[in-house]
Symmetry: C2
Subunit: 114 residues, 2 copies
DNA sequence: CAGGATCCAAGATGATACTG
DNA sequence: CAGTATCATCTTGGATCCTG
């Protein structure tokens, strides 16, 4: 992330009005917060994630994981064997997001009673 | 927000896998975080917000404000006069989100260097 | 001034089939 | 097992015009 003029931020070629929006761009995608939460509990194989997100297509899951990997929050470890084995885990950067995710969860429970 | 079975949450008719996703649904919309941040600084008229978000259409701004109002984060005060005057401010619930927004902004600055 | 209504383009997501 | 490719669809966001 780099700063330009008058509080404008640039991250990966896109402009944002504030850091909050950058964070939302990184963790706000569909399923991303959930993925991060699950990976914070334990390293998981792709098939484990598929089980957790049974109503999500493989395509979406893969896509979101790739983006999280690109942003450096998730590490993807490929074991060169047949059948393939791929494990996903959080990087330090990913871990650093965890406390904020917890607070977001708590906020919903405390403030959004129907 | 209410709980159903196996960690499933329901908020305003939609199902979510966790509270984090509910929070993201509420504050993750386009411009919403920015709107909340600005309103945390001061009450603003619609025209003030238009100036701040000059590259946003009235339609989008109105839509996002309406949703924030529905979710109880923003208060909309209409003054019955001609020409109309409408002021937007944060509710207590909206204010309660502010610390988390700040943390999200800080996280981006600390962890997302290009 | 502060919007609402309508139509359309673009982007995000889903279904399905195929692969090393 | 862990994907990719392609096509269809559903949802968002923008442009434009109208109103009390």
């Amino acid at each position: 992330m780099s700063e330009t003029t008058a509080d404008r931020l640039v991250y990966r070629g896109k402009e944002y009005t504030c850091g909050i929006d950058v964070t939302l761009a990184v963790v706000g995608g569909k399923w991303k917060a959930s993925i991060l939460w699950h990976l914070a509990q334990q390293t998981m194989r792709f098939s484990d994630l598929q089980r957790q997100f049974s109503d999500t297509t493989r395509k979406m899951l893969t896509q979101q994981l790739r983006e999280l990997e690109t942003d450096g929050l998730v590490h993807r470890e490929v074991y060169p064997q047949v059948p393939p084995k791929v494990e996903y885990s959080l990087t330090e950067k990913g871990m650093s997001m965890y406390p904020i995710l917890l607070q977001m969860g708590n906020w919903a429970r405390e403030h959004l009673r129907d």
